[in-house]
């Protein structure tokens, strides 16, 4: 799965740390296990909301404090959403936009 964070962590784009996790069959790079947890939960929530079996691409904008405005794509389909978490990765909000 591709994201707009091309330089670093799949969630926050930071280039510190090195943590790999398989998401949907792709080995993805994260700065830490918390970012990986958040990303993995986010993918589950998108699939749950859309009924999609796979996600091709996610665009993430924002940060930990104000939350992230996102758009996921699956082929021609697109799903816009917003989420915020605690610093331990627990979700506070996930909503369709």
């Amino acid at each position: 799965m591709k994201t707009n964070n091309t330089e670093g962590c799949g969630l926050c784009n930071a280039t510190w740390g090195e943590y790999w996790r398989e998401i949907d069959g792709d080995n993805m790079y994260f700065c830490c296990n918390i970012c990986a947890d958040i990303f993995e939960t986010m993918v589950d929530k998108v699939k749950e909301s859309t009924g999609w079996k796979k996600i091709d691409y996610v665009e993430l904008n924002g940060n930990y404090s104000s939350g992230r405005e996102c758009e996921a794509r699956n082929g021609e389909d697109s799903f816009k959403y917003y989420f915020r978490t605690y610093s331990n990765g627990k979700f506070i909000t996930f909503e369709k936009r």
């Binding site: 510190w16 740390g17 700065c31 296990n33 605690y86 610093s87």
Partner: protein, 297 residues
Amino acid sequence: MRCPTCLIHIDGGYHEISEHIFSMQEKTDADHITWINRYVSRNRTTEDEFEKLVKQVFETDDLKTWIIRKFIGKFFSKNPHYFLLKMQRPDRWTLLGYAYEHHHFLKQWVKSCSMIIANTDFEEIHHYEIDNIISEWHGEEGRFPAHHELLLKMGKSYGATLEDIYNTEPLEPTIHAVKTWDYICRNFSFVEGMAAMHSLELIANRKMKDYGASVGYFDPVILKDGSVTKETVDFLREGYEADVSHSEAALDLIEKYAARLNLVQEVQAVFFRSIEEFDNYLNARIERGVMIENEQH
């Protein structure tokens, strides 16, 4: 020196402290990486470059202003904390969440103040903390109610019962934060304890906008427009007026004693950890409000 994340004491200077943080980053420790991402940089550097950046984060000859600036950066920037956004025009759920979680915050507050007293012989610190305990927790018969009492009245004005507020376990982020503040005040110097607690009073300081905050704690219009209960107005107004003197007098004391006891970096480290806990705690107020609204409470 002290690590701003795990709070361990480290012998040496910026070289040793940055070496510790850098090595934790190499081990992919999430908490240390979070601190680096939030307060240093999101871009990896060499270890030498990292040491320079860490030094830049801490170095100051004006601790009070440093604390205020960092606090504004964290909570009052152009993307203010979500709780502050909610507080501009608060709904009943946000205010109820506030009442339920803040009750536990204040219970710890008075214990923290007492531990600060117990950890020093400086009488001006004793006087400061006693005064704070009276205004936050005890009140003065016939003169003014305690902040805690006003909080409970605000909760009651939106239908909460005292019994329910007392019997509701705080949410996990509140428990975590309260335990951290307890640990800091119990085990570290009084000046670090003061930094952990009293810097947080800046949240309700109405001068934050003068210091560069993008929003205030709430829009003062709500004190007059009838959108919140009278009890809420009483609660917010009290904090609005009282916390200016509290938080700034405390910062002056922190600055004075941190310099005298050579604990400036330690105070800064504890401050970093405290605002991270406070960030999560403010989110817990929102989460509690949502739970009450959805009748999951």
